[in-house]
């Protein structure tokens, strides 16, 4: 019985250690967000606002795990943002989960002091239109800081498939099998919306992680997929795939014969094609919390612009194969609000695309 007497305190030691570890980590997180400066009632001057960052820690939230594309951009930009916010320390914090929603929630609901900003998937535009659960933000109310890169997306089909144009797809008697990463992913949404725009029959095969879909195309188990041109470039160059249409604002020099969606989309589907184009365009949007002091937002936007146009950053970006194109906050705000402002019939299509349970 003596043993039982001894067991209890040891269990509590164990729990204590666990608690201490949690406290340590909580403490570590808390200190990032600490603000010591009392809120001044009067509007501060630009110099004051820049001085505000002296000695502060800015958290750059990346809504994915470490090692992915969003993370690479975050880690590329952070030191240069720090450079243009003198005296500050910019740290990258990975907040992955729920398809970028957790990270976007964190930025949106942070203390509005301009010390939290970050990047997440533009596909959240679709999620918001569809009114997905779990979203605790309004993209219209984010303070946009710009966009670090633009991209075009392409619909590709395997070279062994009998399809050479969108018209071929329309004429097909079979359902066109397209690979997607999963319901709500960009590849899924785009494929469904393209089938709606052009009226070809599509059957989505969901569950291909990363570029497993490329091999599925080569095996011929699916006809094609929609994805960023940069990720598809190799397959096209190696003649494993051909592009049928470009989603985006500009033609792609490497693909002179492939038409733009806005050129071949039917007139009555213009709203949908524009939605697709604009949300494809913003590849790495950057945002901060709504409601931060006006002057501070200006300082942040200025610092972000300087960072993204810094020759040293551009050089580093080139070395890391991360294309950088600075898009102004005004253009991002405009693009997002246009994209979000959709007539009910489009909301219905998008909702079906994002939420649709299997037929």
């Amino acid at each position: 019985m003596r043993h039982i007497h001894w067991k209890l305190p040891k269990v509590s030691v164990f729990i204590l250690v666990g608690l201490m570890a949690m406290v340590l980590i909580l403490g570590g997180c808390g200190s990032n967000g600490q603000v010591s400066k009392p809120a001044a009632g009067v509007a501060a001057s630009a110099a004051d606002e820049l001085a505000f960052y002296n000695g502060k820690t800015v958290t750059f939230v990346v809504a994915t795990k470490a090692g992915g594309g969003y993370d690479s951009y975050g880690r590329l930009i952070a030191p240069f943002l720090q450079k243009y916010l003198p005296g500050s320390t910019v740290i990258v914090k990975n907040v992955p989960g729920a398809g970028h929603i957790i990270g976007a929630n964190e930025i949106y609901n942070a203390k509005p002091d301009g010390l939290t900003l970050g990047t997440f998937n533009k596909g959240l535009i679709m999620s918001q239109i569809a009114g997905m659960e779990g979203i605790k933000f309004d993209l219209n109310k984010f303070n946009w800081l710009g966009d670090a890169s633009t991209e075009s997306r392409v619909l590709i089909v395997g070279t062994k498939s009998p399809y050479h144009s969108i018209d071929d797809l329309k004429k097909a008697s079979e359902e066109i099998k397209m690979a997607t990463a999963g319901v709500g992913s960009a590849s899924h949404n785009d494929a469904l919306m393209l089938s709606n725009i052009f009226g070809f029959k599509v059957k989505l095969i969901s569950g291909y992680a990363g570029q497993e879909a490329d091999l599925a195309m080569m095996r011929g188990e699916v006809v094609g997929q929609v994805g960023a041109f940069d990720s598809m470039r190799n397959m096209i160059e190696n003649k494993e795939a051909r592009a049928l249409v470009i989603i985006g604002k500009e033609k792609i020099p490497e693909l002179p014969d492939v038409p733009l969606l806005s050129d071949i989309g039917p007139a009555d589907k213009k709203a949908l094609t524009e939605l697709m184009n604009s949300q494809a365009w913003l590849a790495r949007p950057l945002a901060t919390t709504p409601g931060i002091p006006e002057g501070r937002l200006k300082v942040l936007r200025e610092a972000m612009k300087k960072a993204l146009t810094d020759p040293e950053l551009l050089q580093k970006a080139k070395q890391a194969n991360l294309p950088v194109t600075y898009v102004t906050p005004e253009e991002v705000t405009q693009t997002v609000s246009t994209a979000l402002n959709q007539p009910p019939e489009i909301v219905k299509i998008v909702t079906e695309a994002v939420k649709n349970a299997k037929d």
Binding site: V11, G67, I101, Y208, E212
Partner: protein
């Protein structure tokens, strides 16, 4: 061809390439050892540094590191029961029990030698399979993946020690847990309970840390003493050699598990964890004493270690041959090709064949070097397992909590770890096996996704594809054969295991 191979080999040893490979492999071992960091993170960090480098030097650094990440991860799995990388989760199943028996040196010897064996196999596979890779890739799709996973699921029944029912019960719980989160084919969130955290499901690394590391520490803090049984203390260094010999004694299993890992690498579609778990399942199914797995079986440690290192060599093939990366790590590596001005694909093979051979050689040699590095440190590290509980328990718990937090940087991670710490404690107390929980969790997800895809693609006729059919026959055999064996044994008048329920 032969000449190109020699040219590639020579480039491995040319300065500074050799230095970069050693540097890469050392970084890879450290990154693998630290839970929460992984190969992808390391590659992403290295990429900016390779700009402007000679391709041979660049790949020496990148592949040298990438090849040995799981070798480093095995060390933390063995010593702290906390897998350094996801695929190392299966290393805990039989590795930690060996360490507890005071056979740390031997366990390290086995893990390092099996990793090196698998790594070299993967590199050789890369060279020899290139001419026939297209038909192999063509032959495996979701229907085949589904069947492969089901063969692994069948192993759950053997993992309950002497009780089939206990193995199946825990395995079923694992399968059930795999249903938590957003279903990729319907988008429906299951068992989400309104928590965004649960959308991504329950991460198996957290469950491993919980039911292995945390629960073992809970027990240790109650019992006192040290992790390893002190009787074996004198034999740490001798044990390393025994471990290496064990690996060569089981060369046939090693070869089979390396082949499983290699194939899973060549035909991506099952994810990083599949190789080690399916190899573990295979080792269990082909063992004469499957009931002993989980209690420190040599085979149970060899299988995952050889498989996940072999997988990395295999995974290079689609990247190099088609320019199609099969995993997120390979996608980052593909970025490196572009930075260096090389276009992966058929052209790379015709124009840069020595470089392709060099990559294979680098993977092979880095694997041997990484394992050797692990062995050199083995004796020092093994001493940790003789520390008394009041010192080692807080240390390991800290390690476990940090490793867990690195998964999503979320407090939810730590909660999951402690909840499963308690689950693991009671599983052990009531003599339920732990491994089937993880196996069920990992395999359940793969089985479901691939079944959904197979069904969407082919309907019920997916069952009639030749390889699927062969795998199905294997599946039926592994289930029926032990039953027949048992019936025969009981007919002969022999005792059926008394506690088989």
């Amino acid at each position: 061809m032969f000449e190109a191979s020699l040219q590639g080999l020579a480039q491995v040893f040319v300065w500074p390439n050799a230095g970069f490979m050693l540097l890469g492999a050392t970084i890879g071992m450290v990154v693998g050892f630290i839970p929460g960091l992984g190969g992808n993170f390391m590659l992403a960090m290295m990429i900016p540094f390779v700009f402007g480098m000679d391709p041979y030097a660049a790949f020496a650094l990148l592949l040298g590191g990438h090849a040995v990440v799981h070798t480093g991860g095995a060390i933390s799995a063995l010593l702290f029961n906390t897998p350094g990388t996801g695929p190392n989760a299966a290393t805990c199943f039989d590795g930690y029990p060996l360490v507890k028996q005071g056979q740390t040196g031997r366990a390290m010897g086995i893990a390092m030698a099996a990793s090196a064996f698998g790594g070299v196999f993967g590199a050789l596979l890369m060279v020899f399979i290139i001419p026939i890779v297209r038909p192999i890739i063509m032959a495996f799709g979701p229907p085949e993946f589904f069947m492969m996973v089901m063969v692994g699921v069948a192993a759950l029944a053997f993992l309950g020690g002497n009780s089939v029912a206990k193995g199946l019960a825990v395995g079923a719980l694992g399968l059930l847990m795999s249903m938590v989160g957003q279903d990729p084919s319907t988008g429906v969130v299951r068992y989400g309970f309104g928590s965004l955290y649960l959308w991504d499901g329950i991460n198996q690394v957290l469950v491993v840390i919980g039911i292995f590391a945390v629960s073992e520490m809970l027990e240790l803090s109650q019992q006192g003493g040290s992790i390893a049984d002190t009787h074996g203390a004198a034999k740490v260094s001798g044990g390393v050699l025994t471990g290496i010999k064990d690996v060569f004694r089981h060369w046939w299993l090693n070869l089979r598990c390396s082949a499983i890992g290699g194939i899973i690498g060549v035909v991506p579609g099952l994810g990083g964890e599949a190789a080690s778990f399916l190899a573990y399942g295979h080792a269990v199914q082909t063992s004469k004493t499957p009931e002993k797995f989980g209690s420190g079986m040599i085979e149970g440690l060899i299988a995952p270690e050889s498989a996940h290192n072999s997988k990395e060599g295999g995974a290079l093939i689609p990247t190099v041959v088609f320019g199609v990366p099969g995993s997120s790590g390979m996608a980052i590596l593909l970025g490196a090709f572009l930075i260096l001005g090389l276009a992966p694909g058929p052209k790379l093979l015709s124009e840069h064949l020595p470089l392709v051979f060099n990559m294979a050689w680098t993977v092979a040699i880095a694997n041997v070097f990484g394992a050797a590095l692990g062995l050199v440190l083995a004796n020092q590290m093994a001493r940790l397992t003789y520390l008394r509980s009041s010192i080692i328990v807080p240390l390991i718990l800290m390690f476990a909590v940090l490793g867990a937090y690195g998964t999503h940087n979320s407090m939810g991670d730590i909660l999951v770890v402690f909840v499963f710490g308690i689950v693991g404690y009671y599983l052990k107390k009531y003599r339920y096996p732990k491994a089937p929980l993880i196996m069920g969790l990992v395999l359940g997800r793969m089985a479901e996704v691939n079944l959904n895809m197979a069904w969407d693609l082919y309907g019920i006729s997916f069952m009639t594809r030749p390889i699927t059919l062969v795998l199905f026959v294997i599946l039926i055999t592994t289930i029926v054969y032990p039953i027949i064996k048992r019936m025969r044994a009981s007919r002969k008048g022999g005792n059926v295991h008394a506690d088989a329920v």
